[in-house]
Structure formats: C-alpha cells, structure tokens
C-alpha cells in the first residue's frame, strides 16, 4: 500500500486540478447528453467538495432519501470506481427527456425500459467524464458496464465510501446541475481511484 498520498492532506493545487477535471468532464457529459436527446441541455459550473463521510449523504438530501446510483468499475492505467447519482425526480425527468415522455410513469417503480434508459444516461455521463480525465492525463481508462441500484442514498454511497475509506476519511464529490429550458436537475459524480491510481493521476499531471 502506498502511503505517499493522503486525501486528508490534499494540497490546494491538487484540489484545483481535481475540480477542473470535474468541470471539463461535466461539460463533456452535457454535450453528449444534448446530442443524444437532440435538445439544448444547460449546465451550471459544478461544485466540488471534499467531504467527510458523515456529511456526504446530507448533501444529497439525507441518508434515507431514495436515489438512483449508477456505478462503474475502472480498469486500465487507472483502477477504482466511479459513480453517478441522482434523486428519483431528477432521474424521472432525464428518462422523460430521453424517451420523449412516451414510456414514463409518474410514480412507482421504474420499468425495465426506464432502467435501461437510466443506464444509458449513466454510460454517457461517465464516458464523457472519463474521456476528459483520460485526455488530460494521457492515461488509458476503460470502464465496466453500468451497475445500477435504487435505494437509500446512504446505502448506495456506502459502496464508494468504503473504497475511499481505505485511503482516507474524506470523499471527493462533484455536484452538477443540468437540464432543459423547463427544469434543472442535480446529479452527483463520485470518482474513487485506488491509491496507486490516485498517485498515477497526480504524477501524470506533474503534481
């Protein structure tokens, strides 16, 4: 295990770089989403926070709030995982944009069609984020198929939090707000490289 990197002692330059990667990634994701639904999608500048585990679920509206989490495992020069999370309303809205409203139920559980659309949204967003990370660092990153879970925010966040827990007591959360003219929704990215990969990212950027 490499102890040179400690997320608790991250310096401001490293923090800024991670923020910038978040910015660019979210921008790419928005463009990709916009092309897919053939509509303009707006995005605000993402908020990036380094949070204690205890605070993590409060940001997204409480540990018991039901959310959709889409998780990818990462391979190649960077190992670890990445997660995209949205609340149920935001998920319904995005599915609605993608499917043109034809298949969307207002309440209740998501149908298989809707789940598949959500997975695709996760794919687009994660792919855009990872390609910007890959372009900036010159590292090869491949991601797994999307794994989706719909459950309490705390329970879903426990999976990336545990991975983060191996290297520190804080997690890096990127919050981004996007939507069409009618409505904006919030989505959250969490990137969890393994400690070796974290080091690889920062080294490749000369930090």
């Amino acid at each position: 295990m490499d102890s040179r990197i400690d997320l608790n002692k991250i310096n401001s330059i490293q923090y800024d770089v991670l923020k910038e990667i978040g910015n660019i990634g979210a921008g790419n994701a928005t463009t990709a989403l916009s092309q897919m639904i053939n509509k303009r999608v707006n995005m605000k500048v993402p908020k990036v926070d380094l949070l204690e585990f205890k605070e993590l679920s409060d940001i997204v509206g409480g540990a018991e709030k039901p959310v959709v989490g889409i998780l990818f495992t990462l391979d190649g020069n960077i190992n670890g995982m990445m997660m995209f999370m949205m609340d149920l309303d935001a998920s319904r809205h995005l599915v609605n944009l993608l499917l043109g409203g034809a298949y969307v139920s207002e309440t209740g559980e998501f149908s298989e069609m809707e789940k598949s659309a959500l997975n695709e949204i996760g794919n687009i967003i994660a792919g855009a984020y990872l390609s910007s990370l890959s372009a900036l660092t010159n590292l090869t990153i491949t991601s797994s198929i999307p794994y989706m879970a719909i459950d309490m925010a705390g329970a879903i966040l426990s999976v990336p939090a545990i991975e983060f827990g191996k290297i520190g007591d804080k997690a890096l959360l990127i919050e981004t707000e996007f939507g069409d003219e009618i409505r904006a929704v919030n989505g959250y990215f969490i990137l969890i490289p393994t400690i070796e990969s974290y080091y690889a990212i920062l080294t490749s950027l000369g930090l």
Binding site: K54, T73, S144, M152
Partner: protein
C-alpha cells in the same frame, strides 16, 4: 417519542435509556448494537471496513469492525455496562450492486459481517439477532429501554429484532 442519537458513517455512540440510537442508510457497512440488558447501557457502531490492520490510515477507530467494537465496549463501561453481560444485534452488510467482475469489491458487505462475527466471537459476545446480507439498504433504531432493534428498508415491511 424518545430522543434518538444519530450515529454517522464510520462513527459510534453509546447511551442509556430513555435515549436511543439510530444509524441511517446502512449499505455494505454493518450496524453493530451492543447491549447490557441489566444496566440497559447500549452502544451502536456503523463500521465500514473489516480490519484496521490492513489499512494505513486507521486513526478513525469507529471505521473498522475490530477497533470499533473495542472502542464501543470501553465507552460502554464508562456508563456502567458489565462486559460479561453484553449481547449483540447486527444489521447491514448488503451487496448494493451486482458486480459481475470484481470479486473483492463485490464481497465487502459479507466481509464486514464476517469480521464483525469473528471479533464478537473472540470476545465471547453472543449475537442474539441479525438482519444481514441481501441487496438493500437498512436504517436501524435501537431502544435500550426494551432492547428492541427496529430495521427499516425502502419498500419493505419494518422488522423488529
């Protein structure tokens, strides 16, 4: 309604009646309740990882099954608990995502449960109730007055253990 003390992720707390303890949204983490039925002193931990000795940054004792249980017992003693009378109730350790390719990541919930059971067995503390595994999140509430552990999940009936 009695006051419930909130236990966060990688956190622990102890209390006496009429107060109770709760931790929200357990996923692959494990919620461990220790209880002395005579003095009614209770403790709750929300552990994230099985073993503190495998991790470099292990200052937060409440994060690990092994050190979390030790710390909880020492805090409970200060409130008058007798370690010979302790019983345990555990919940959580779910597998939230059905990974197809990564064995270690997939089994973290199970490994947390196994480590918890091993540590409790070493200390001779019997597990009198458990609701672990499966693929859904759990919120737990413990009431030292009655010794009842309430388990709540999304779209499932409440359980009393």
């Amino acid at each position: 309604m009695n006051e419930l003390i909130k236990v966060g992720m990688a956190d622990l707390n102890v209390c006496c009646p009429p107060k109770g303890l709760t931790t929200l949204g357990l996923g692959s983490c494990v919620g461990i309740v220790l209880y002395d039925p005579v003095s009614k002193v209770a403790g709750m931990a929300h552990i994230m990882l099985p073993d503190s000795t495998k991790i470099v940054n292990n200052e937060n004792k409440a994060k690990f099954a092994d050190t979390g249980i030790d710390m909880m017992i020492s805090n409970m003693k200060k409130l008058g608990a007798n370690t010979n009378r302790l019983i345990a109730k555990i919940a959580g350790g779910a597998q939230m995502f059905s990974f197809s390719n990564n064995i270690e990541m997939m089994r973290i919930g199970d490994r947390n449960v196994e480590a918890t059971k091993l540590k409790l067995a070493q200390l001779g503390i019997p597990i009198v109730a458990e609701d672990t595994g499966a693929n859904y999140g759990r919120t737990i509430e413990f009431y030292p007055e009655t010794g009842v552990l309430k388990v709540k999940s999304v779209g499932r009936p409440e359980k009393l253990l």
